[in-house]
């Protein structure tokens, strides 16, 4: 996987990074705010302006970075091409961009492949948790699962039925 841009950004795509517990709306809000500021801002200043804890601000930035929407040169956060595109895009077109970015992440890519290999493109919650424990060994698989479902649903990559605890490929959209 060759990625241009900052070193942290490239590194994020090489290994199985833990998935931060951050919702898509927060990530989109960060991207929109950065665009309104001309694309780059000092992280400390950003946290102060948002009246957010510095650590919490960093977690959102880490999530956006993992998705390839921003990178972090020095103490700043700067928007990337995909971030700028998503900021410009209409609501309906944003999902496609996140979909493509998610498939660049090994966790999403591997799980998507795992489901594709299955005849009905479905897996139980337990199977997915087991898979996650293999992919990101030192992380809480339950927490990762939550983010996986949230991001996967937004991108219409994965679906999840909490009644039957079934995780599945959202084939309608990913076909």
């Amino acid at each position: 996987m060759d990625k241009p841009g900052g070193t942290t950004h490239a590194a994020a795509n090489e290994s199985n990074q833990p998935l931060p517990q951050i919702g898509i709306s927060e990530i989109l809000g960060l991207v929109e705010l950065l665009r309104a500021k001309g694309g780059r801002e000092d992280i400390y200043k950003l946290a102060r302006e948002l009246q957010m804890e510095f650590g919490d601000t960093l977690t959102v930035i880490r999530a956006a970075e993992l998705l390839g929407l921003v990178h972090t040169p020095g103490g700043d956060v700067e928007i990337d091409k995909a971030g700028d595109e998503i900021g410009r895009a209409k609501i309906g077109d944003r999902k496609g961009i996140i979909h493509d970015q998610l498939l660049k992440l090994p966790v999403f890519n591997t799980l998507s492949g795992f489901l594709k290999e299955k005849e009905d493109h479905r897996a139980s919650r337990d199977e997915v948790l087991e898979k996650l424990a293999e992919l990101i060994p030192n992380e809480n698989a339950e927490q990762t699962f939550t983010t996986l479902v949230q991001w996967g649903r937004y991108a219409e990559l994965f679906g999840y039925n909490d009644d039957s605890e079934t995780f599945y490929l959202d084939t309608e959209a990913s076909a």
């Binding site: 709306s25 927060e26 989109l28 960060l30 948002l50 937004y154 219409e156 999840y160």
Partner: protein, 253 residues
Amino acid sequence: MARGPELFKLEHVTQRFRLPQGDVTVLNDVSFTASEGEFIAIVGPSGAGKSTILRLISGLLKPSQGQVIYKGRPLTQTNLEAAMVFQNFGLLPWLTVAQNVELGLEPRGLDRAARRKRVATYIAKVGLEGYEEAYPRELSGGMKQRVGLARALAVEPEILLMDEPFSSLDALTSINLRDELIDIWSDRDFPVNTVVMVTHMIEEAIELADRVLVLSSRPGQIAGDLQIDLPRPRDKRDKAFSEYVDKIFSLIA
């Protein structure tokens, strides 16, 4: 959006509530007229009766004095042409996203197929495709409020009432939802053309609305009525934007 004919007006509305510690006057002689196509924000300190105005327009509350005229007739019962977005989302936890959005459609005489189509349309409009079978407990605040918005839009009301719709969201999520609301609002297919939003955030009011009504502290009275003549999207760093902030702030203070 062009300002159209009169949609509703409040005429000398006074609202009192009887509480155990005595009567409280929340609104005192409030009058204003709203036209079709306007996006009105009502700002003011807490307790100024902002949300009470929304409840009066929705017909859930009858004024102690004065009247609410909707399309030329006094409003005497629940206003079926109005839909509300709540601060705390107002979702039913045992229903899925799609079922929550469908909720307001059943009493409106739509058959099952028409309801399903309506639900799909508005779920797409607010960016919730993929979440149809999720339960509220599985959603972030931002996604919950999208469900609230889709549910209100799905009934295709003449007027959308929003009660502090972004104030229980974190800073970044509310930036995102405001941005997407402007996107939805500027869409030609947007079913609603009149919006009344209550907020305690002056900047939010100026960012979104065509017109800002300023209420004084309890009992609420109209302390100002300003047209916001700025192109969208609006930039908070703009000099004209901060002049509006200062003006409204001085009206409240």
